[in-house]
């Protein structure tokens, strides 16, 4: 598959010594939705800023559309859109003028029809003559997206697109991103909502302290690191896990009143093992009164990864 963006050895050290990016290597494929996950201060926004021209990098190279960004930045930036995390615009500007300005700024001729399509797709058409300051927070965020889409970018960065927006707007954003995917736009979004990555992304990268901990297909990641958890609430406390069940990853909690399972591979092994345990327990004369079972989410995987990384450091 074609690589639309190739980041190699990207390093950013801020004056004062903070290492925001520490040798990041990342390839983005054309047409994919890539979610960059990480806690606050992990380097997500710096990474985006480095590609979009907001941050001057300390080292490494960025190749966009097959050309070195350091030299061919004009051509590359024309094809890149950015929706920043912070709301920032001329508050006294009207919605339509603001979007038209964005299109012009990126060197494109005015195109009223295109701007109408963008505004309608974001439910901003009715608000087009209003000053941006008069809009609600969610609407302002849509204006940011409209401004980024005005020049029809092939590669779109969304920095925390759903931070602080209500559930309805979040669902709206997801639909919008789906539409962009259908149009063939490559989307890189940062988030600290795992749910978002799980819902939207084709691939996921996890970043912490400026280092990319892993990059993988979302499904592969779930399969590789996914775990199944189950908790049997026992009628009588046990002193130890029965020998016959030693082959399974089991341990006791709550003074022996809960038999907890944590294992599997995210591809069904965990469920099968839990079924086997559920059948084995009555044969051992062990009664249970309740059974909870859940598949670990990307969130658990993410927390695991970051914790493991911190333990190793």
């Amino acid at each position: 598959m074609e690589t639309i963006l190739d980041i190699a050895g990207l390093t950013k050290v801020y004056p004062g010594g903070l290492k925001a990016l520490d040798g990041v290597d990342l390839q983005i494929r054309r047409g994919e939705i890539f979610a960059l996950l990480g806690p606050n201060g992990a380097g997500k926004t710096t990474l985006i800023g480095a590609v979009c021209g907001l941050v001057r990098v300390t080292g490494g190279t960025i190749t966009a559309f097959g050309q070195d960004l350091a030299h061919n930045w004009r051509d590359a930036r024309r094809r890149i859109g950015l929706v920043p995390q912070e709301l920032g615009f001329d508050m006294f500007e009207t919605v339509e003028r603001g979007v038209r300005y964005s299109r012009g700024l990126f060197g494109l001729p005015p195109d009223a029809a295109r701007i109408e399509v963008v505004l309608r797709s974001l439910s901003l058409w009715d608000k087009r003559h209003e000053q941006i300051r008069a809009l609600s927070g969610g609407m302002k965020r849509r204006v940011l997206i409209a401004k980024a889409l005005a020049h029809e970018p092939e590669l779109l960065f969304l920095d925390e697109p759903t931070a602080g927006v209500d559930v309805e707007l979040r669902r709206d954003m997801w639909r919008q991103i789906d539409r962009l995917r259908d149009q063939g736009v490559t989307v890189i979004l940062t988030t600290h909502y795992i749910e978002e990555a799980q819902e939207m992304a084709d691939r996921v990268g996890v970043i912490d302290k400026g280092r990319l901990l892993l990059v993988d297909e979302k499904d592969a990641l779930m399969a590789k690191l996914g775990r199944t958890e189950a908790r049997f609430r026992l009628a009588q406390p046990l002193a130890a896990v029965p020998d016959s069940l030693c082959a399974f990853p089991l341990h006791l909690e709550d003074d022996g009143l809960t038999l907890a399972y944590r294992g599997g591979d995210g591809a069904g092994k965990g469920k099968a093992e839990i079924a086997a345990i559920a059948q084995a327990l009555p044969h051992q004369g062990i009664a249970y009164t309740a059974l909870d079972q859940k598949e670990s989410s990307l969130e658990d995987i993410f927390v695991d990864l970051v914790e493991r990384e911190e333990a190793a450091a």
Partner: protein
């Protein structure tokens, strides 16, 4: 290769911002200048001797025009670039396919355009109060354009440098206005006794006021050649500083 559409988008956007605040941008400098004409031109000027054969009311026209041009060019351009820095909207400019040429032509071009409009309005207002002629209209136009452009550039630098609104006002208030008042707006420096005359010659604004005065009346305290050369030198220094700002990303890119 300059990206003309981007340049025009910035230029147009800045002029629209000007139109949105046309009252403040136009009316207040015109009112201030009118007050000067009423007090110094019509009221006091009638009792003043002509300076170098020029009626006092007419004598102060170029200086007052210069006073307005300097402060308005500087503050317009500084606000133009400071506001997006303040609101965060600068991200869009930084991520757009525009470089130093587009940004300067757009922001500084718009600020200079505002200054030219303002100059025209002030000259028209002055005509109401005093009688004056412009001896060298083409030179006057050239000089006004050069001054507007170079002080808009200075304003741009200030707008990039400033970290708060009060700093934006610092240079116009504390440097430009005093230097203009002391720079021969209301008098010929030949009226000064030594050593003050020599001290006054160290004030760069003297050359601007007198340059403009020469284009009006064909006579001034310093020669037009010196005035034009100094303005051009100032223009080149401004551009060099701004080129450096863009090369290093100072105060713009983190």
């Amino acid at each position: 290769m300059i990206n003309w559409r981007s340049t025009y988008a910035i230029y147009r956007n800045e002029l629209m911002r000007f139109m949105r605040t046309v009252f403040g941008s136009l009316v207040s400098p015109v009112l201030t200048t009118s007050l000067y004409f009423i007090v110094f031109g019509a009221a006091i000027g009638g009792r003043m001797n002509a300076v170098g054969g020029v009626d006092y009311g007419a004598f102060i026209v170029p200086g007052l025009l210069m006073l307005t041009l300097l402060s308005e060019s500087t503050s317009n351009a500084s606000f133009g670039i400071y506001m997006p820095r303040f609101t965060g909207a600068i991200y869009e400019l930084l991520s757009a396919p525009v470089g130093v040429a587009e940004t300067l032509l757009g922001f500084v071009g718009a600020a200079a355009t505002k200054s030219l409009i303002l100059a025209a309005v002030i000259l028209a207002t002055a005509k109401i109060f005093v009688d004056y002629e412009i001896a060298h209209p083409l030179y006057a136009l050239l000089f006004i354009i050069l001054v507007s452009a170079s002080f808009s550039l200075l304003g741009f630098i200030l707008g990039v440098w400033a970290e708060g609104f009060e700093k934006l006002q610092l240079v116009p208030m504390l440097i430009l206005t005093p230097l203009t008042f002391l720079g021969g707006t209301f008098y010929s420096i030949d009226m000064l006794a030594e050593p003050w005359r020599t001290v006054a010659l160290a004030n760069p604004i003297v050359y601007l006021v007198n340059g403009l005065r020469w284009t009006f009346y064909g006579q001034a305290d310093v020669s037009i050649g010196v005035s034009l050369s100094l303005t051009l030198v100032f223009l080149v220094i401004d551009i060099a500083v701004i080129a450096w700002i863009f090369r290093t990303g100072w105060r713009l890119r983190s």
